[in-house]
């Protein structure tokens, strides 16, 4: 068993879209259902990230939003799975995949 990090991203356009209360209610239902379905595997639902961020590089701080980026990182979760395939399988039903312009990057934690 390994832990996997799901990194949630959305396109800039999708991030700017204001979801309606009905949209939010439906998304909430989907996330809740996903959490219940993979109760064992999801070790940490993670968190959402507040925009904008800052980048420190070579002692210089750059403010977001980062104009060159096409996507924004919106949040993460941590999942425990038997294999990469298994982790991929779980991600397929993650509500993030249903979001227009949404994507999930899946990375195995090295476990140091």
């Amino acid at each position: 068993m390994s832990k996997y990090l799901y990194l949630y991203r959305t396109s800039i356009e999708a991030a700017a879209y204001q979801a309606s209360p009905e949209d939010i209610q439906q998304m909430l239902a989907k996330w809740t259902a996903w959490k219940a379905r993979f109760q064992k595997e999801i070790v940490d639902m993670g968190d959402a990230l507040k925009p904008p961020g800052k980048v420190l590089r070579d002692g210089v701080v750059i403010d977001g939003p980062f104009i060159e980026a096409k996507e924004v990182m919106g949040g993460y979760s941590i999942v425990e799975a038997e294999s990469f395939e298994h982790a991929l399988e779980i991600s397929r039903s993650c509500p993030m995949t249903l979001r227009p312009g949404g994507s999930i990057e899946i990375r195995e934690l090295a476990g140091y």
Partner: protein, 459 residues
């Protein structure tokens, strides 16, 4: 906080968009309606916060209270940030209530809280009906702040573009921002003078939903449900209830009862005479009749009374042939006096045709001097075409029906008119097939009478 008083709806059951409307109404009342947009942003943030945190922590015991607190905190932060800007003559200086003084949800018993929220929603309904806001903007504002629809959802339901919805909304918001802080918490009774405007708005909302075509029938029905919900806000409050409100609600129930009966299994449009009356919703008809009875107990008789009564006559008729057409004729005569519109005359002529025959109906319409907009309106040609057909004037009928078909807005209506047209060209002796093929473009069936009246420009 967890225990709900007996009889109160559990707050959890409410849809997010209704929750949105309740929270916006309550918070806007406490900080001032001129800050409505700021309040909306705060409530939106609270919903997004719920989306992020509830899957993780589970739904809180009191979701409404949770959302209220998060929205209120956000609003307090916003005001704190904005304060330096508003010190000279802004909200802070003119004595607007600070959001921190807003009702503390936990300090109240839920029954009183529920009532208070309904008062707040009712107050917001009156705010939306501000006479200085154009009618189409009033409607969009109500759909946004009371019904909790997103702008794209409003556009979809009103068959317009999202840009147009924004434009209408901006006009309403500009007006709200100008509201004097003294408007913060007006007594409901003082707002009751806007009751007529609220009635018009709710009526318009209902008609928007009722005049739906097939493809969008399901989503537009929500507009009818919302109109009924808003009507109840008004009718159920002792400070604002009136016989007119009851009549308007009755009218909406009596039409809503037949909402789904207007289409057949294949998606074709069914006229009143072709509808399966067993599929009419008896429970809704019952509610409508009770309300109409209550409305009739008052001294007044409004256009809503007359329109509800027309709908009631249709609902009570065992069949199309057994409809009390003379009563409908009488009611349209009343409507012509109460709210003059040539469309009422058109509807009266249709009822007269059923009661006395097409010739009498044609006499009425020939005496009418239709304004230019009516001449270009497809129901005018459709009605005349059908009456001419029944009177045996097939050539005249064909011209009218062709023109109507060209101008009909919905494919289902075009199809219906095409069938009529076919009946005119089939070789048959006039009159021979008339009794069997009586297809009246009844104002109350093809397009319900209130819709017909609503689409007409007021003049």
């Amino acid at each position: 906080m967890k225990q709900a008083p007996p009889g109160a709806e559990p707050l959890v059951e409410h849809a997010f968009r209704h929750e949105y409307g309740r929270l916006v109404s309550t918070l806007a009342r406490s900080v001032g309606f001129q800050h409505t947009e700021l309040v909306e942003d705060a409530v939106q943030s609270a919903l997004v916060a719920a989306l992020r945190s509830w899957p993780k922590t589970g739904t809180p015991d009191d979701p409404s209270g949770w959302l209220y607190r998060v929205a209120k905190n956000q609003l307090t932060d916003e005001f704190r940030k904005a304060k330096p800007l508003t010190l000279d003559g802004g909200a802070a200086a003119s004595g607007a209530t600070s959001p921190t003084e807003a009702t503390d949800v936990s300090a109240l018993d839920l029954g009183a809280f529920e009532r208070e929220i309904r008062d707040d929603e009712l107050r917001m309904l009156f705010v939306c009906a501000d006479p200085s806001i154009p009618a189409e903007s009033q409607l969009v504002l109500a759909l946004k702040v009371l019904c909790g629809f997103g702008t794209n959802e409003i556009a979809l339901r009103l068959l317009t573009t999202e840009a147009n919805v924004y434009k209408r909304l901006a006009r309403a918001r500009a007006r709200l921002r100008e509201l004097a802080p003294s408007f913060d918490t007006p007594p409901l009774e003082a707002l009751a003078s806007r009751r007529d405007a609220v009635h018009r708005m709710v009526y318009l909302l209902f008609n928007e939903g009722y005049s739906s075509s097939l493809a969008d029938r399901l989503i537009r029905r929500e507009l009818c449900d919302e109109a009924i919900r808003l009507g109840h806000l008004l009718a159920d409050h002792p400070g604002s209830a009136s016989p007119e409100t009851d009549a308007l609600l009755a009218l909406m129930y009596l039409h809503a009862a037949r909402f789904d009966a207007r289409v057949d299994g294949t998606g074709g449009l069914l006229l009143l005479e072709d509808q399966d009356r067993r599929s009419w919703d008896r429970a809704l008809i019952g509610r409508g009749m009770l309300l109409l009875e209550r409305a009739a107990s008052g001294p007044s008789f409004s256009r809503y009374h007359a329109e509800a009564a027309v709908a009631a006559v249709h609902c009570m008729a065992p069949s199309y042939a057994e409809t009390r057409w003379h009563e409908i004729v009488e009611l349209y005569e009343m409507l012509e006096r109460l709210a003059p519109s040539p469309l009422h005359t058109l509807n009266r002529a249709i009822a007269v045709a059923e009661w006395k025959g097409p010739h009498e109906a044609l006499v009425i319409l020939e005496a009418l001097q239709p304004p230019a907009w009516l001449l270009g309106y497809y129901l005018w040609d459709a009605t005349l075409g059908e009456l001419e057909r029944r009177a045996g004037n097939l050539d005249r009928a064909r011209i009218r029906l062709e023109r109507a078909q060209g101008a009909a807005p919905h494919p289902a209506e075009k199809a219906l008119l095409a069938r009529r047209l076919l009946a005119c060209t089939e070789p048959s002796t006039p009159g021979a097939n008339c009794p069997q093929t009586r297809g009246a473009p009844d104002g109350g069936t093809m397009t319900p009478a209130p819709v017909a009246a609503a689409v007409a420009p007021t003049r």
